[in-house]
């Protein structure tokens, strides 16, 4: 029995190491390219450790484009969107999963249905509408576009479905109203779900390209992804700078992921969801 366990542990690690190599490959490549001259990036065979590391690339990205401003803008948009998304989605999801009301199915279907429509289909009407509100060239436009996604509601609803109704009935009998149940029971219990949504919203907003491209045309408003694109100018692609900037830009997302990870681990004991 013990021997079997040992073998299976070894197997698991073997698989995980294989996965790690596949997953890490691009990052290592990014890192190594970020320290090269453009002309050396696409040479074969791949030179993993650059002969003369170009540390200047990491200096240049700050001066070639206003990267600091872009990061500030992106951080601002991302934080607000993530906050609004978490709050409004978890709020709405509570009603969709634990309350009975008129029009529930129709409303929910409306949400789901819009997930199925590709954004490219309604980008132009949406843009014209936003502009008529005077929101062209404002961060508010991007925030409003991103913050009320149907996806967030749908996902939180799925997580709430997993929380047994009996808990809520019990709380009602104890005299709690729905707002209290939401705040005191649902929120703490759905930490894994909330963390997941945080990560997704954060990554999506952080990496969003098409929205800022259409709405933010003034330099002081632009975001990081537009900045990355700036390095791919029409006539020459400055990949080393793109890679250096990509590495810098990746860091905040990883920090968010790492800091939220403990909520996945926390699991059963802390949330108290049992059977």
């Amino acid at each position: 029995m013990k021997k079997q366990k040992k073998i299976s542990t070894i197997l698991i690690y073997l698989v995980l190491i294989l996965v790690t190599i596949t997953m890490l490959f691009p990052f290592v490549w990014m890192l190594s390219s970020s320290l090269k001259l453009d002309k050396d990036i696409f040479t074969f065979p791949i030179q993993w450790i650059p002969k003369e590391p170009q540390w200047d690339n990491y200096k240049n990205i700050w001066t070639r484009i206003p990267l600091a401003i872009f990061i500030k803008n992106t951080a601002k948009i991302t934080l607000i969107v993530t906050f609004l998304q978490l709050l409004t989605s978890s709020f709405a999801a509570y009603a969709f999963s634990k309350l009975h009301f008129k029009g529930k199915d129709i409303l929910f279907m409306a949400y789901i249905a819009t997930i199925a429509v590709p954004w490219q289909a309604y980008m132009v009407p949406q843009f014209i509408m936003m502009r008529s509100f005077g929101l062209n060239n404002t961060h508010l436009a991007i925030i409003l576009l991103q913050a009320f996604s149907a996806f967030g509601v749908f996902m939180m609803r799925q997580f709430y479905q997993g929380i047994p109704d009996s808990l809520i009935e019990a709380a009602r009998i104890d005299g709690m109203n729905d707002y209290q149940i939401y705040a005191k029971i649902m929120l703490p219990l759905s930490k894994p779900g909330l963390s997941t949504l945080t990560i997704f919203t954060f990554v999506n907003t952080w990496n969003d390209f098409l929205g800022p491209l259409l709405y933010l045309t003034r330099d002081n408003l632009k975001t990081i992804q537009i900045g990355l694109r700036m390095f791919i100018t029409q006539y020459s692609a400055e990949y080393s700078l793109i890679m250096a900037a990509s590495v810098v830009v990746l860091i905040p997302v990883l920090v968010v992921f790492l800091s939220l990870q403990k909520y996945f681990v926390q699991g059963v004991a802390a949330t108290g969801v049992k059977g």
């Binding site: 002309k39 502009r131 709690m176 259409l214 045309t217 100018t233 020459s236």
Partner: protein
């Protein structure tokens, strides 16, 4: 308990509202200050907005604006960088629905121009520009005419020339390419220099280089002036594809699919010092000069010759792409906007643009002189001579369906070059698709 409920909900809403309002104020403040609609500010100045791309890498924007504002102290020009990769998409969106934030717009390509014209978003210029000598643009304006009217004036005309690596030719012991060589002579040259230089250097040298753009092959088909790329019979392109594919198969040039998947830019390819010749636009001149001095490129001597032409085509014929300026039909400051357009596309603008090493649309001997005297330009007389052209053909002429045609041609090029279809079938297929367009 009730109290809790109320206060909780209230706080929640307050937070949401607060954030939305704060975010809104923060932004509308900054945006209204930068895009003041009122046209004239307190000092009586008119501010016009110019939509363009790549402020930082294009050296001529700022000198142009500076010179213009000096001449017209009551007009301010503001630049609006829409980025280069999706420029026409963003410009189209910004102008949609009759918006007037942008007054002057750079026009990057023909499909984009055609769509803006059909959407009535560009101001017709024939009346405003009746004093402009259209012949000074070497016939370019006639190629962008739409039913006798035109909606833009060119300020840049990048012609195609052949860049060559002198060191590789020296190593191979082959004479430098001459101005005015034909397509067949070029084919022989590519093979010869490829074989000899590879042998001499002991490593792979490519005689030529075709970037992944379809124009790299298709342009040769239109230089005789008989065909254009908006056509319902593309069989005239067949010989050029046959030659290029044969070169590729023999390894004289790099493989199309490899170039495409590795996203190798043509400049990076040329910098590697293993490409002997490359036909490319004159926009590459300042880029190459800078790359040589900054160390982005391997060090080698280079020169310029004319673009190879099919047999029977006059010397001094080449292909070109223009960048032009247009006025937003909904602009509230058309007069000031036109003044600016006239300045940039005129002789004064041309000389300012030329000083930065970029080819302006008006190409006089002074202009050529000025480009040839930029730092790092090859010192031989032939290279300078290669810049004087007599006839330029635009890649795509104006046509109503030019955007659709562009897509069809791109597909065909991709299929042929990656070996997924025979040349004959694919060109026939493209012809049929264009025929089917209404």
């Amino acid at each position: 308990m009730k109290k809790f409920k109320k206060s909780f909900v209230l706080t929640l809403f307050a937070v949401v509202l607060g954030i939305v309002v704060l975010a809104g104020c923060g932004n509308s403040g900054s945006s209204s200050s930068s895009s003041s609609e009122s046209g004239s500010s307190s000092s009586g100045k008119t501010k016009i907005t110019w939509a363009l791309w790549d402020i930082d890498s294009s050296t001529y924007y700022k000198p142009l604006i500076k010179a213009f504002e000096k001449e017209n102290p009551n007009i301010d020009v503001e630049m609006l960088d829409l980025g280069s990769t999706d420029y026409m998409t963003v410009l189209g969106t910004q102008l949609s629905g009759g918006d007037n934030n942008i007054d002057v717009a750079s026009i990057k390509d023909m499909p984009g121009y055609a769509s803006l014209v059909s959407k009535n978003q560009l101001e017709p210029l024939s009346k405003l520009a009746k004093n402009v000598d259209l012949d000074s643009y070497g016939g370019l304006v006639y190629q962008i005419k739409v039913n006798k009217e035109f909606y833009a004036l060119p300020f840049r005309n990048d012609i195609y020339v052949m860049y060559y690596n002198k060191d590789l030719f020296d190593a191979a012991g082959v004479d430098y390419p001459k101005n005015g060589i034909t397509w067949d002579e070029y084919n022989t040259l590519v093979q010869e220099v490829s074989k000899k230089a590879t042998k001499a250097k002991g490593s792979q040298v490519y005689g030529g280089h075709y970037h992944t753009w379809r124009s790299q092959v298709q342009l040769y088909g239109i230089l005789n002036g008989k065909n254009t790329l908006v056509s319902d019979d593309y069989s005239f392109l067949q010989p050029y594809y046959e030659t290029v594919l044969a070169q590729q198969k023999a390894g004289y040039v790099q493989d199309y699919s490899a170039l495409k998947t590795s996203s190798l830019s043509y400049s990076a390819a040329f910098y590697q010092n293993n490409v002997a010749t490359m036909v490319m636009g004159s926009w590459f001149i300042p880029t190459l000069e800078t790359a040589m001095s900054s160390g982005q490129s391997e060090k080698f001597n280079w020169g310029i010759a004319t673009m190879p032409v099919p047999k029977g085509v006059d010397d001094g014929t080449t292909a070109g792409t223009i960048t032009s300026l247009a006025i937003n039909a909904n602009s509230k400051k058309k007069k000031a906007a036109y003044k600016f357009v006239e300045f940039v596309t005129g002789k004064k603008g041309a000389s300012i643009i030329a000083k930065t090493g970029t080819m302006p649309a008006i190409q006089t001997t002074d202009v050529i002189e000025s480009i040839a005297s930029t730092d790092g330009f090859p010192s031989d007389a032939a290279s300078k001579e290669a810049l004087s052209v007599k006839k330029t053909y635009l890649e795509l002429p104006y046509s109503k369906n030019v955007a659709e045609v562009d897509t069809i041609l791109n597909d065909a090029h991709d299929n042929i070059m990656s070996g997924n279809a025979s040349i004959k079938d694919e060109l026939k297929n493209a012809s049929d698709q264009v025929k089917a367009l209404k």
